[in-house]
């Protein structure tokens, strides 16, 4: 019921229309960029075997472009997740929207869970759809497909679910504006840590890779994103793999078998914290 209510809210408030229009613009821009990149790759100086023949240029271009699209998809999904959830408790309470709902027998826990499921469902479907769109564009224009297809899509969906959960937890304590700032700063911090990790890998810096790893576990949306990036070039090898490792999108680290259990545990932990804080909150 709460899920349906939140979904109807998204539709009626024209959130989905705005999102669809801007996503079409994003995918259009991505298609243009992909076409230009593969045109250059197909020219003589960057022939199919690359400048020296050791690097698969189509693989490099495809993986980098698709990695960029995954970053864009995660970013757009994060914006959607944040704006659907960042005012759910304190923001709605300050506007007088929450009190009539909370006094009903359904209770605070169910209300919060419903809002989370709605946001996670909307954002999850959204990122999977954008991911699929980018996949089709990359394949149709450049003839390149990632080594793994389903896993990275699910990881992006899980990443925005984590962002939704964090934004909901923040909404219990913070005003809408403060929570929005906090969520985007966390998102930025996660991405920066991931990039630092890649730099650390290249430079062989144990400190940087440790910082990145700890941050990834503390903010698992980053670990999910990095693992997804890694999966799209899982079968790359040789100089192509080295070239991808040097880029910002193609050669991220794998997270290992504990990523999914930890993500689920993290969601449960954040959910429990949010529910406990919400139940004690004076409205």
């Amino acid at each position: 019921m709460i899920v349906g209510y939140a979904l109807r809210e998204s539709v009626r408030r024209k959130v989905l229309v705005v999102v669809l229009v801007l996503t079409a613009a994003f995918l259009g821009l991505y298609a243009l960029g992909t076409e230009q990149a593969f045109d250059i790759v197909d020219e003589e100086r960057f022939g199919p075997e690359g400048a020296g023949g050791a690097v698969d240029s189509r693989e490099l271009a495809g993986a980098t472009l698709f990695g960029l699209s995954m970053f864009g998809t995660l970013f757009l999904g994060t914006i959607l997740a944040a704006f659907l959830t960042l005012g759910v408790v304190r923001g709605d309470a300050e506007r007088g929207l929450l009190q009539p709902l909370v006094v009903r027998p359904i209770g605070r826990s169910v209300l919060l869970l419903g809002r989370f499921l709605a946001a996670a469902a909307v954002c999850g479907v959204y990122v999977i759809a954008v991911y699929a769109g980018a996949l089709v564009i990359t394949w149709a224009i450049g003839g390149w497909v990632p080594d793994r297809i389903a896993g990275p899509a699910l990881q992006l969906a899980a990443a925005v679910a984590v962002v939704s959960a964090l934004a909901l937890l923040g909404s219990v304590f913070l005003t809408t504006t403060a929570n929005g700032i906090a969520v985007f700063m966390l998102f930025g911090a996660g991405l920066v840590a991931g990039l630092l990790g890649q730099i650390g890998e290249v430079l062989g810096s144990e400190t940087l890779t440790n910082v990145a790893e700890i941050t990834s576990w503390a903010l698992p949306f980053e670990a999910l994103y990095q693992d997804g990036l890694n999966a799209i070039t899982a079968d790359s090898s040789g100089f192509t793999e080295i070239a991808l490792d040097l880029g910002p999108f193609g050669g991220a680290q794998a997270a290992g078998p504990w990523l999914w259990p930890w993500t689920l545990a993290y969601l449960a932990l954040v959910g429990l914290l949010a529910v406990a804080a919400f139940r004690r909150k004076d409205l």
Binding site: R8, E9, R12, G96, P100, V102, V103, R104, P105, D282
Partner: protein
């Protein structure tokens, strides 16, 4: 039968601020009690504790015998917040349907139609909240509070946005609810309104209950006015039981009596006295 609402030594602190300092109050089944007090007296805090929106620091509040905030208490009550808003994108009918589902009401479309008719919004059932005037939204709020046929209602300033016609509609509604056996705790600044509809009043000041009872019980005699030839004579401090003797005395001394009025303090005077204010220039509780 437990009271519709009861508060025992109810206290609430917000940091250093003591919002409620041990309040005892009961609202019986089918009773309409007016809650009065100046701003910051603790009225809204009391109502919010009763609804389960705020946790008490000490003491206990119960709704229809169940602890305030419990599932059972929330099933038994309806609530109209002082500063509420409904999402602009829902229609009146959709909003009531949502609250029916949240409240577990099985009333269906019939209940929704009845409630909208009760608050004078039968023609606006498909209108979106954002297209409604503030007064219409207030009446929709009252309808929302009545979803699921609650046994007890917390109404926090239900007529604040209404014009005189709307206030009259709400007064009639409250009388009808009393007829159905629904108990109401009405938090209002409008003393005249409270005086017109409430069985009892409770006056809070600085977090304490400073007066409680029927307006007639709280009223004090201010005197007896007697119209005689060409004048009105006031017997200050005299009460109703003294009126026959006063008239008899006047007749005995040859005065012709045309009318007698027993004067009692108004609710406004009772209120101002209870909160320790002078009555000059106060038309409504602030």
């Amino acid at each position: 039968m437990p009271a519709a609402f009861s508060a025992r030594a109810l206290a609430k602190r917000y940091g250093r601020v003591e919002a409620l300092a041990g309040v005892d109050l009961e609202v019986e089944e089918g009773e309409l009690v007016g809650l009065l007090g100046p701003n910051g007296a603790g009225k809204s805090t009391l109502v919010k504790i009763g609804c389960g929106l705020v946790r008490a620091s000490a003491g206990e509040a119960r709704v229809c015998g169940s602890p305030a905030g419990s599932h059972e208490a929330r099933e038994a009550m309806g609530y109209l917040a002082e500063l509420f808003r409904f999402p602009g994108w829902v229609s009146a009918d959709e909003l009531l349907e949502l609250h029916q589902r949240l409240a577990g009401s099985t009333g269906g479309a019939t209940e929704r139609e009845d409630l909208l008719a009760l608050v004078g919004l039968a023609e606006a059932r498909r209108r979106k909240v954002e297209a409604m005037s503030k007064g219409m939204q207030q009446r929709l709020g009252i309808a929302q509070a009545l979803v699921g046929r609650p046994r007890f209602l917390f109404l926090d300033e239900p007529t604040s946005a209404l014009d005189p016609t709307g206030r009259r509609t709400v007064r009639r509604l409250l009388e009808e609810l009393r007829g159905r056996g629904v108990a109401v705790l009405l938090n209002s600044h409008l003393l005249s309104e409270v005086e017109l509809v409430c069985d009892r009043v409770a006056i809070l000041s600085r977090g304490r209950l400073v007066a409680e009872g029927r307006p007639s019980e709280l009223a004090r005699p201010r005197g007896v006015e007697v119209d005689v030839d060409g004048a009105t004579r006031l017997f200050e401090g005299a009460g109703r039981e003294e009126a026959p003797r006063l008239v008899a005395d006047l007749v005995a001394v040859g005065e012709r009596v045309y009318g007698v009025r027993v004067l009692e303090s108004t609710l406004e005077e009772i209120y101002l006295e209870a909160i320790g204010e002078h009555s000059e220039g106060h038309g409504e509780a602030s």
